[in-house]
């Protein structure tokens, strides 16, 4: 019956929509190399060096 198909589909869709943000949130913080991460590292180093120069 269409109504039960709708209910099952909605539950499946919402489950996927819950899982994807959680999974990608975890992946972003663990395994995915992020261009910004590299940039940040360089900025951090530059800042550190700058700090040393100033002192």
């Amino acid at each position: 019956m269409r109504k039960s198909i709708l209910h099952r589909t909605t539950i499946a869709v919402v489950a996927v929509l819950l899982l994807v943000p959680v999974l990608l949130g975890v992946l972003k913080n663990t395994v995915i190399p992020h261009p910004k991460a590299h940039e940040t590292h360089e900025e951090h180093e530059a800042h550190e060096h700058g700090g040393e120069d100033e002192s």
Binding site: V13, V20, V22, V26, A37
Partner: protein, 439 residues
């Protein structure tokens, strides 16, 4: 089925697209809790923008699922989207280890915009769920919904644009703008442009006929040079009547009761019970109406190989079934149909003479059984309700070859479907249209 799955996968792809984008092109990682909070907001935003598409009666989507199912999905998804958006500030506050975001007053203006959006989303969902229990009339609810929806769209566009680091990146900015424009366009087209287009080719009321008691059939013919768009027997359409001053101009949906084989007019048979429908008898030939449709998947035409049908109808629920029976008659369709038709009294039976004529004509091979719950002493037919006992009496014990079409008052339909399932009928062999979108 395959088309339906493809469309659901497309929906999932687009709704999660900004999350994929931010994962690879967005701001730097700021901790799992923080990033999940942002991702939930992105998904919530996309779900809300897609709400405009789902509600806009887009044929490409509707024809696969049926408008009744789409509107129901629209309603369920609104609750889920509200859930995602509620989780967003809670998880952010947890990730910061501070409740300032939730209860603080010294916050930037764009945070207040986000809070306002969240409050309006929750209000919109609650008003829609409790509309009937609040005694809110459909037209008033629709007006509130039409005001809240675009306001929410603007707020959920503005809030992350200024608050989120991710919106500083071009792919996400582009997606944000495209989705917001799409949603805005859908709203404007659905609520303003299309009604204007339809009003440019109005139908003309040619006849208003009393069928029984407070049941009326309104026949409509297209304006000169126009033709009636194709429709399936059993489908419904949206009508807006333009009548003498003082009579309400509101859009309502009704089942089409005419046969698509009849090309001169299209008709709806309407029970005058509500505030608006009570004015239907005041409709006169020569009045005009806009017709938007047709919609729905409650039709035997979609299942041409099914030959053994049982129609279970109650009261005005006969209308889509009548359209199907008329179509079978007009197309010389000889399939077998058993109609169990419940009413209170003989006077309440709609289309009684025409049903008898179709039964006599044997096209389709129709058997009509009237069941009256308040029958007079003269009534020699079935008394009581269309129920399990009646189904077993006329269909026998083995129901495995039958296909059931159920249409009638909600409680009756629910009770019948429950009985059919208890009798071992597969869900796939029970057809029902949910005509009341807001229930």
């Amino acid at each position: 089925m395959q088309k339906g799955v493809m469309r659901v996968l497309l929906y999932l792809f687009f709704v999660t697209l900004p999350v994929w984008f931010t994962t690879w092109f967005g701001a730097k990682a700021e901790g799992i809790l923080h990033d999940v909070a942002i991702n939930f907001a992105l998904v919530g935003f996309m779900m809300l923008t897609f709400q405009f598409l789902l509600a806009a009666r887009v044929k490409w989507i509707e024809r696969t699922f049926g408008l009744d199912m789409l509107i129901r999905y629209h309603k369920y998804v609104a609750v889920a989207a509200a859930g995602f958006l509620i989780l967003h500030p809670i998880l952010l506050a947890l990730s910061h280890g501070s409740l300032t975001l939730l209860i603080g007053s010294n916050l930037p203006w764009y945070i207040w915009v986000g809070k306002a959006a969240l409050i309006l989303v929750i209000a919109n969902v609650l008003i829609s769920i409790y509309q009937s229990r609040m005694g809110l009339k459909f037209e008033k609810w629709r007006m509130i919904h039409d005001l809240l929806a675009p306001t929410i769209l603007v707020l959920i566009f503005v809030h992350p644009w200024f608050a989120g680091d991710d919106l500083e990146h071009f792919p996400i900015q582009a997606l944000w703008i495209i989705m917001s424009l799409m949603a805005g366009w859908m709203f404007i087209y659905h609520r303003f442009l299309r009604p204007k287009q339809l009003a440019g080719h109005p139908y003309r009321v040619t006849e208003v006929q009393q069928e029984a008691g407070n049941v009326w059939t309104v026949k409509l013919a297209p304006s000169a040079g126009q033709h009636i768009a194709d429709y399936l027997p059993g489908q419904f359409h949206f009508l807006t009547f333009y009548r003498e001053p003082g009579l309400p101009v509101e859009e309502h949906h009704w089942t089409i009761s005419s046969s698509p084989a009849q090309k001169d007019y299209i008709s709806s048979t309407i029970k005058a019970v509500g505030d608006f429908t009570k004015t239907i008898p005041e409709t006169r030939p020569g009045d005009t109406a806009t017709v938007h449709g047709s919609f729905g998947r409650f039709s035997h035409v979609l299942h041409p190989h099914e030959r053994n049908l049982v129609f279970l109808a109650g009261g005005i629920g006969i209308t889509p079934l009548m359209s199907m029976l008329r179509h079978m008659r007009d197309t010389d369709d000889g399939r077998s149909v058993l109609l169990l038709y419940g009413n209170r009294t003989e006077k309440d039976i709609v289309f009684r003479d025409e049903l008898e004529a179709i039964e006599t004509g044997k096209r389709p091979d129709l058997t009509v059984v009237h069941v009256l719950s308040g029958a007079g002493k003269d009534w020699a037919g079935e008394t009581g309700h269309v129920d399990r006992e009646r189904i077993e009496k006329y269909c026998g014990i083995d129901l495995s070859k039958r296909i059931f079409y159920v249409c009638g008052p909600q409680k009756m339909a629910e009770a019948l479907i429950k009985s059919l399932l208890e009798m071992g009928v597969l869900k796939s062999r029970i057809r029902q249209e949910i005509f009341s979108f807001l229930n």
